[in-house]
């Protein structure tokens, strides 16, 4: 299914396609790019896009964005995801970047934005805490003013790739007396500051993606406060809106479905009744993808005409994650007994894995994908948002 494109947009799509084919680093084509790449390897594509001027499709031209229309941004997203490229780090480019150019001051823009674009700074997100998951307004990390510094104490958790990060953007409490939402500030903290400790959390797939981040008497210059003190909740909500925009994940789901079909054909003979059962389950998911894709195109077409899509992002997040979880579950089932094996982390070249290559990451993907319906505002929270904003409940 394709957008009806103008000749110019069609030429742009071809240009993007050709650029990916010629420039995407072979080094990054590993079994599981999300876990198998070093920090340096995962930045290779980022730097290529930066040189091309395509690293930040969302950003206005004055801050280093390419100045694309909504249609072109969508084409770029579609082409890069269909080609299976590793997206640039979202925490830097789609999350904190837009917060800085929207709510930050000139000094902050000049200091941080170029380093985000170039990949020099790696950002992580300091939102969740042990006591604050979906109910983010209850964060307890405290920032107390001391001259031209804040003294920060607290415990952030589920911090993705904090082990690589140079900076963390944090929600901190700056006024204990006010209402929860009215006393939160948005603070940028240098990960090299004394008092910052990162502790790995190993998840059920064996990977090290998330971390605890402990902040003990960390001194943060007041100039690292974004916008106004106690207005951080507004900025945080703005950012969460960005986080959910490309959650439909059509390109990725389509690639994984194609792969799943090949695995089913290889693992189960056509005369086995299980073969047809699998194909019917795959067929249903394929139709789910088609329906979501058609919905995404409908929304993009509306946005291109200036119509506010409302909380469409919540719909995409819910369905996109449910679909991908379904695909990883079916893939894990398709490899049968080999689904008992799980690659050991850290990876080593001489580790033995049973069964064909295509099954080696199926188990870890299945396990890892459980996170999708939890993070970025759990799917239950997304349903609350739609219930309130669309249904008026």
């Amino acid at each position: 299914m394709e957008l009806a494109l103008s000749p110019e947009d069609a030429a742009f799509r071809d240009e993007v396609r050709a650029f990916i084919a010629e420039n995407y680093p072979k080094e990054m084509r590993v079994p599981n790019p999300e876990t198998d790449l070093t920090k340096e390897q995962s930045l290779l594509w980022h730097r290529i896009l930066y040189k091309k001027g395509w690293i930040a499709p969302l950003w206005p031209r004055e801050y280093g964005g390419p100045g694309w229309s909504i249609t072109r941004r969508f084409i770029f997203e579609q082409e890069t995801s269909r080609a299976g490229t590793l997206p640039p780090l979202a925490f830097s480019v789609t999350m904190v970047g837009p917060v800085i150019y929207t709510f930050g001051n000139d000094a902050q823009k000049q200091k941080f934005l170029p380093r985000i674009l170039s990949g020099e700074d790696w950002w992580c997100q300091g939102y969740s805490e042990p006591g604050s998951g979906s109910d983010l307004a209850t964060v307890r990390t405290k920032a107390v003013r001391d001259g031209d510094h804040y003294i920060v104490n607290g415990h952030k958790t589920w911090t993705t790739l904090a082990q690589h990060a140079d900076w963390i953007f944090c929600l901190v409490r700056t006024d204990a007396s006010a209402k929860p939402q009215a006393s939160i500030s948005f603070l940028l903290i240098d990960m090299k500051s004394p008092g910052v400790t990162v502790r790995p959390i190993i998840t059920i797939d064996g990977s090290h993606e998330v971390n605890d981040v402990f902040l003990e008497d960390v001194r943060v210059p007041v100039e690292n406060l974004i916008g106004e003190e106690n207005k951080g909740w507004t900025y945080a909500k703005f950012l969460l809106g960005n986080e959910r925009t490309s959650m439909a994940g059509i390109g990725r789901s389509t690639r994984y479905l194609d792969r799943l079909k090949k695995i089913v054909n290889a693992e189960i003979t056509a005369d086995d009744p299980a073969h047809l059962e699998f194909r019917k389950e795959i067929g249903r998911i394929e139709l789910d993808v088609l329906a979501l894709e058609a919905t995404e195109l409908r929304v993009v077409a509306q946005m291109a005409r200036g119509i506010d899509p409302g909380p469409a992002a919540s719909l995409f997040k819910i369905r996109g994650t449910e679909i991908f979880q379904g695909i990883t579950e079916l893939t894990h089932r398709a490899i049968g007994n080999y689904g008992l094996a799980l690659r050991e982390q850290p990876l080593s070249a001489n580790q033995f894995m049973p069964g064909p290559d295509y099954g080696h990451t199926a188990t870890e993907k299945y396990l890892n994908a459980r996170k999708l319906s939890i993070y970025g505002g759990s799917n239950e929270i997304q349903r609350n948002i739609i219930a309130k904003a669309v249904l008026g409940l």
Binding site: K261, L297, R383, L391, L393
Partner: protein, 376 residues
Amino acid sequence: MDIQFTEEQELLRSSVQRMLRDQYSFEARRKIVTGEEGWSRKQWNGFAELGLLAAPFSEESGGLGGGPLSTMIVAQEFGRHLVVEPYVETVVLAGGLIEHAGTDEQKQALISDIIAGQKIWALAWTEKGARFDLANVATAARRDGKDYILSGEKTAVIAAPWADYLIVSARTAGKRDDRAGVSLFVVDARAANLDLRSFKTIDGRRAAEIAFRDVRGELLGSEGEGVALLEACRDRAIGALCAEAVGAMAELNSATLEYSKTRKQFGVTIGSFQVLQHRMVDMFIAHQEALSLMQHLSLSLGAGESGVSRLASGVKSKIGYAGRFIADQAVQLHGGMGMTDELNVGHYFKRISSINIQFGDPAHHLLRYVQLDAAA
């Protein structure tokens, strides 16, 4: 896939909406359905005057050239109002077959009568034991001069009791199940030796079991190509039926939401319960996705894309499951009221159930979608 409707299409939609709002209330519909005939010629004439019966036909055939998108627009609104008149049967099924397969003579004679609202048609393709298989035809036709003589039985032919003419599939060669050897015939519904036993359908329509004992029929299309013609006809019918289902789903969702905001239990409106809120969000999402697929299918039908038949099956399946989910939940959330004949909710439920049977249920079409996958 930009769904920006043209001014003409918007005009069509708003005029159908206005007419149905003024003349096809749920009470008005109830009178029609419980009347002797079970349909309204007055309404039908209104459809003709408004140009709805001409909308999808090409301009050469005397139509307005609106194609599958105009069918979609009309059917969606008909679905919202549970219109019982045989629009799909007359315009989409018979009209479409005549337009695609008829001789110039047939087109001129038959389509103008449809557009003018003069004649009602029904398509008799289903047989006992054939379920949803278009090729499973035992009814036989033998040549007699320039006509054919038909013998056999058709089952559950929707709108047949109202029809002036039938299009009947019958075997001119081969054995039951052969794809080749099925042909289509135009038959006068009041012909001698045509025995028609009428019954009421769950969605307030009339259908019939029909026995043909040496009934004269006129060939429509080439001999032996009936199955291919019926397949394309089914794809177009799926486009229209899915649009009706989507219209019905929209009404069920808004009725359920409205009810949840007024109905109180335990001292609060039931819409304040999170479990029901999330259910209604899932109903909302199911409708949004169905709407997107409905548009996608209609655009593909209009563009005559290859592979549209597989797409039609996929969409029929997905919208069928979505419709069943929404209908189930709408009745459930209305509680006992949802079970009553008095409230419209149960009637939407029954319309969606009927659509889910016509031309194949969601499971049948899922299987067809999967089996037509060239990549698998």
